[in-house]
Symmetry: C2
Subunit: 213 residues, 2 copies
């Protein structure tokens, strides 16, 4: 993984959203400046980790001054592409698709939901947060009229490969995949698989090892 010409590990990239969230909280509480030591204590990582992570993207800190919270918040948002106005569509209007459609934090992060699709004709025309559910047959026409950046896949895993390839053929840039399925797609697309059970297993570890702490 690269940032400009520099190699950046995926582990560092995955920590950026967390920095962004914490800085957002600080801003809300009118904190304008923070040392890496203070930030590290709040976030439970070492100060040197924070410095190392941020150095991958240019630094942003001043010796003895610390970080300007608003500036760092905006810079990280920029690196994450949150000001690019990415549009999303949800494929699959079941419980998970509905939960995601109603998740207000995505819009707060700059992602705009512009379409919801399903294969179930009984759902077509129903509205979720003002957005009509369309039939999958309308997908190609929808792409002719709209710029769609991200496809959110909340469908059973059996259908994921076919739907994904169709979206890639239509020029989608990224797939956010909630179905456990290995995607081997032809074409140029970024994929982020969500494995909810990983997080549950981590909790299970914490509980299991708890008595030994």
């Amino acid at each position: 993984m690269f940032y400009n010409d520099k190699k950046v590990s995926i582990a560092v990239v995955r920590r950026l959203p967390r920095y962004y969230r914490y800085l957002g909280e600080l801003l809300k509480n009118d904190v304008t400046r923070i040392s890496s030591k203070e930030l590290s204590e709040r976030m439970g990582v070492t100060a040197s980790q924070i410095r190392q992570d941020l150095n991958c993207f240019g630094g942003f800190g001043q010796q003895g001054y610390g970080y300007n919270v608003e500036y760092l918040y905006k810079e990280i948002g920029n690196i994450l592409g949150l000001y690019n106005g990415y549009t999303t569509i949800i494929i699959g209007a079941g419980n998970l698709g509905r939960a995601l459609a109603n998740h207000s934090s995505f819009e707060k992060r700059g992602f705009r939901l512009i379409g919801i699709f399903d294969i179930n004709r009984d759902l077509v025309g129903e509205e979720i947060r003002g957005i009509k559910i369309r039939h999958m047959d309308e997908l190609e026409d929808f792409f002719k009229e709209n710029r769609v950046d991200i496809g959110i896949l909340s469908i059973p895993k059996e259908g994921v490969a076919e739907v994904s390839q169709r979206l890639v053929n239509l020029g989608i840039k990224g797939l956010w995949n909630f179905s456990y399925a290995d995607l081997n797609l032809e074409g140029d697309v970024e994929i982020e698989n969500v494995h909810l059970s990983d997080s549950l297993m981590t909790l299970s570890y914490k509980i299991t090892q708890h008595k030994r702490w």
Copy 2:
């Protein structure tokens, strides 16, 4: 974070579920033995990282032989506590709660859903996968009759603090929290917060930096 008397970083712990998933796939494909080099290629991490990670928990590999897939799979499952038969309840039977109740992979990982609760009396008595939705008023009685290990919180963030404290008072061991809320709880409980938007922001980064690769 500790394993037995050894300090283990949370980053290592978070990689364990991923090893577990990959080894499970290998087992399904009748692979009985794998070198750290081969495993690393499949998982996209370095072989030395894998060795380092697994060394935190005792090693499991034999020089020149590689890893016994089934043995490693079971050992990691054991470290993660997946054979402890942890029970879960879902608080909040909205779209997200329903999606989680229907998520079959949790049971496959050894977690047993035994109750679903909501404050909406209209939902009480409805069944999801054979489990009746109960009113929140029945929570205390339910704990008297059942061992509940993990509470899955799929409720709006406004209610999270109060409900969490109530669950902790009832002796719950872990909270899997899908609402964005900082939990400051009195008592002995493990918490795992799920930040879905972190994953979406990571995808956004990948798309944004894509042209520069």
